[in-house]
């Protein structure tokens, strides 16, 4: 195994695990504000309690997000030193801003939200929920700005072999970043909605905490319907069109377009074969891809045949599958939420068990879809580390040998496997006992929880 591969796996593994937590907190942050607003308006104790319950879930996820997030901030330097040295003048900026503008806000107000119920007025408590949500979304923004610069570098100068910000405003307003941001935050909201709806469905199916089950289902399904539609149109659609124009190699690989042709079809099923340059056992709908990208069925879509082989995304089949998994699951989310919302409207959702089962079993899927979406973005960027400017093979820490990298990668794998187990236990307990009439023991507040 080469050092480059180890360093790539190192970052990919740790960031994939890390993002399981923030995607939920970003989604939940918004939903907690919604619940809290209802509670504030109608003075309902149940809605207030519902917000508190999700606040605790948020808190657990926040802590796991923090402890797995610190390694991310460090790894630019530890594993990607040459990249950090070259790019620090640009993307060091948003990364530092995330810490300064978002984490202080989020951690401070989360402490207030979770501990401060008795010490704050109702309005102030609502305000701290809003600030927590804002903190989490600001954090997402700066990370996306960072990634967007790697995907689509703008507003930079090359000075003595490293990049400096030429226009701070343009760096923040990178069009790639804005599109990616709305798509990503909608994706996080989808996760939050499905988790909330799944817990609601779980309660109704088990016949416990029914009042809360209905609140969770209602909020999860209404917000989930909106988010599941927005994730496809317009956010996914706009982002896809932008990728097609600025990263044609990525788009060709995502869609499995080997041959440049007008009226390109969209591949629903099939395995990309890099040797033959064809899709095995394809199911294709003609002209659709051209229409989706360019708005006309006759437009020409650039295929991989027009792209020099050394600029093909390095993990082409994985990129293709990631994209198809994301898009396939996205379709399922919209379908399920439309059906659920219809039943909710007709007043039947709380009785129709098969839909409740479908919602319960679907909760892992947004995690998979969000992960696959990020893999699509980052594998699509390959072989570039900074698109068009620096190759991935030029960016890793040359002084950190493959053996040292593997040592710590294995360490992280072991540690995170344990962490995943513990997290599951914690969440299961919180969901099964978090709304019990008498909590088993007054929890020790140790962590902003």
């Amino acid at each position: 195994m080469t050092a480059e591969l180890i360093h790539r796996l190192h970052f990919a593994f740790t960031v994939t695990f890390h993002y399981l937590f923030p995607q939920l907190t970003m989604g939940l942050g918004l939903l907690i504000v919604a619940i809290k607003t209802v509670a504030l308006r109608n003075g309902s104790a149940a809605w207030d309690r519902a917000a508190q319950f999700w606040g605790r879930i948020f808190g657990i996820n926040f802590v796991f997000g923090v402890v797995t997030g610190i390694p991310m901030e460090f790894q630019f330097g530890t594993n990607w030193a040459q990249f950090a040295r070259v790019s620090g003048g640009v993307i060091g900026q948003p990364l530092a801003m995330e810490g300064v503008f978002s984490f202080f806000l989020e951690s401070a107000f989360l402490g207030l939200f979770l501990y401060g119920g008795s010490r704050l007025s109702k309005r102030m408590h609502w305000f701290s929920a809003v600030m927590v949500w804002l903190g989490s979304w600001i954090s997402g923004f700066f990370i996306i700005v960072t990634d967007a610069w790697m995907q689509h570098p703008v507003a930079y100068d090359l000075v003595n072999g490293h990049y400096e910000v030429a226009s701070f405003w343009q760096l923040l307003m990178n069009p790639w970043g804005l599109l990616q941001y709305i798509h990503n935050m909608t994706g996080a909201t989808v996760t939050g909605c499905f988790v909330m709806a799944a817990v609601g469905a779980f309660y109704l199916l088990e016949g416990r905490n029914q009042e809360f089950g209905r609140i969770f289902l209602k909020v999860g399904v209404i917000a989930g319907l909106i988010a599941s539609i927005l994730i496809i149109f317009p956010t996914g659609d706009l982002h896809g069109k932008y990728v097609a124009r600025h990263q044609p190699a990525a788009m060709a690989a995502m869609e499995g377009v080997f041959k440049t042709e007008p009226g390109a079809g969209i591949v629903l099923i099939g395995q990309p074969n890099e040797d033959t340059g064809k899709i095995d056992n394809p199911i294709v709908i003609n002209n659709v891809l051209s229409f989706l990208i360019y708005g006309t069925t006759s437009a020409t879509v650039t295929g991989l045949d027009r792209i020099p082989h050394d600029q093909w995304p390095t993990a082409l089949p994985l990129l293709y599958y990631s994209y198809h998994i994301m898009a396939g699951l996205g379709t399922w989310f919209a379908l399920l939420m439309i059906v659920s919302a219809f039943l909710l409207w007709r007043g039947r959702l709380y009785r129709v068990r098969w839909v409740q089962w479908a919602l319960l079993l679907s909760f892992p899927l947004p995690y998979i879809a969000n992960t696959a979406g990020w893999m699509t973005a980052e594998l699509g960027r390959q072989p570039w580390l900074i698109y068009g400017l620096m190759r991935t093979s030029e960016g890793f820490s040359s002084t950190v040998s493959a053996a040292n990298g593997l040592f710590t990668l294995l360490g992280f794998m072991g540690l995170y496997a344990l962490l995943g187990l513990l997290f599951t236990v914690l969440m299961y307990r919180e969901i099964t006992h978090g709304l019990d009439a008498q909590p088993a023991a007054e929890p020790v507040h140790t962590d902003g929880l």
Partner: protein, 349 residues
């Protein structure tokens, strides 16, 4: 501009050490000072609403270092690869053991989590101290600005040292004792009853050890890197920094053992000042070098070599001042909301 950013990063590191320092210290004390479940809960509750906010200072410092001094960030983080990864694992273990302890009633596992929390806290303080000592001693920088350090070589500071040698171990011990003392003073403020009294009493032996270690580390630093004194001789008024170290050290003892009435808040603030002067003194001893080379001083990473471009720094300064003013506002707000004792009995916050 370089001068400003050097000290801004230093301020963030001091902020981190002073704030996360006391909760690390409480973690160390968790190993031997607390006697029963109620006391364990009280000591944890005293750091409850603030510890993760304290760790944010580390993140913010890391990010600031990244954009203000990319070369230093790249070189130091990849060169200190192994100890940094160990620090990350310890931070994960520490955060998660706290979290689990908070949420689960786990019987025998509770003891395991308490130990894990304490040991991880103790090791973190040692690593932080050793890390700072590594920066003072210097690392085998190559001409391209990179290096890689194994965990240890022959345990001596020299041309090709390891992360751990006798000098950096002294640094680790200073940090362990200083932050444990810092945590004990925090407990005297935040808990009550017998635990507070024991915390107050344990400060005394810790103080003696810290006084001895402080003197040893100052002497050792001058022996390992004589150039440390250059800045002080050039600007003699800066000897106020080592004098401040000694004065704050004395003040801790004075206020903590004040015969009439102990002054825990003042003693804790004196400990903050002590940490500030120790770190500021180390920074001033290095300035304008950021990371000295043990190989040849031509390979030193200096301020001038590592600093980002002027536009980056100018824009950065604007948002940094604004953002940190906000951040300090939140910190003050949260600490004021959670002012008062975290009682040994249930209740409090």
């Amino acid at each position: 501009m370089g001068f400003i950013w050097f000290w801004l990063v230093a301020v963030m590191i001091v902020g981190y050490v002073v704030l996360d320092g006391f909760d690390l210290g409480v973690g160390v004390l968790h190993l031997f000072l607390v006697r029963n479940e109620a006391e364990r809960r009280a000591s944890l509750r005293s750091i409850g609403p603030v510890w993760d906010g304290n760790e944010v200072w580390l993140l913010a410092a890391g990010g600031t270092l990244y954009f203000a001094f990319p070369l230093l960030y790249a070189s130091a983080f990849s060169g200190f690869y192994l100890p940094l990864m160990i620090v990350l694992w310890l931070l994960v273990a520490r955060g998660v053991s706290l979290e689990l302890r908070n949420h689960l009633d786990m019987g025998v596992w509770q003891t395991l989590l308490d130990r894990l929390f304490g040991i991880a806290s103790a090791l973190l303080t040692i690593f932080y101290g050793a890390a700072l000592a590594n920066v003072i001693r210097g690392v085998p920088l190559q001409a391209d600005g990179y290096f890689f350090l194994p965990l240890w070589t022959n345990w001596k500071p020299g041309q090709l040292p390891g992360i751990l040698d006798w000098y950096t171990i002294i640094g680790g011990l200073v940090a362990l004792v200083a932050l444990t003392l810092h945590g004990a003073l925090w407990l005297t403020i935040k808990v009550s009853g017998d635990l507070a009294e024991r915390a107050r009493r344990i400060v005394h032996p810790l103080w003696i050890a810290l006084a001895a270690l402080t003197v040893i580390s100052l002497v050792a630093t001058i022996a390992v890197r004589p150039q440390t004194l250059d800045n002080y001789y050039r600007y003699p008024f800066t000897f106020v920094v080592p004098a401040g170290v000694l004065a704050s050290l004395a003040a801790i003892q004075l206020w903590n053992r004040s015969p009439r009435r102990p002054q825990p808040v003042k003693a804790f603030l004196a400990s903050c000042v002590y940490l500030f002067f120790m770190l500021a003194g180390a920074c001033w001893g290095l300035y304008p070098t950021l990371l000295p080379a043990s190989t040849s001083s031509g390979n030193d990473i200096t301020l001038e070599r590592a600093i980002s471009g002027p536009h980056t720094l100018a824009v950065g300064l604007a948002w940094w001042l604004f953002g940190m003013a906000l951040a300090v506002g939140y910190v003050v707000f949260v600490y004021s909301r959670f002012r008062g004792k975290a009682d040994v009995e249930a209740g409090g916050h």
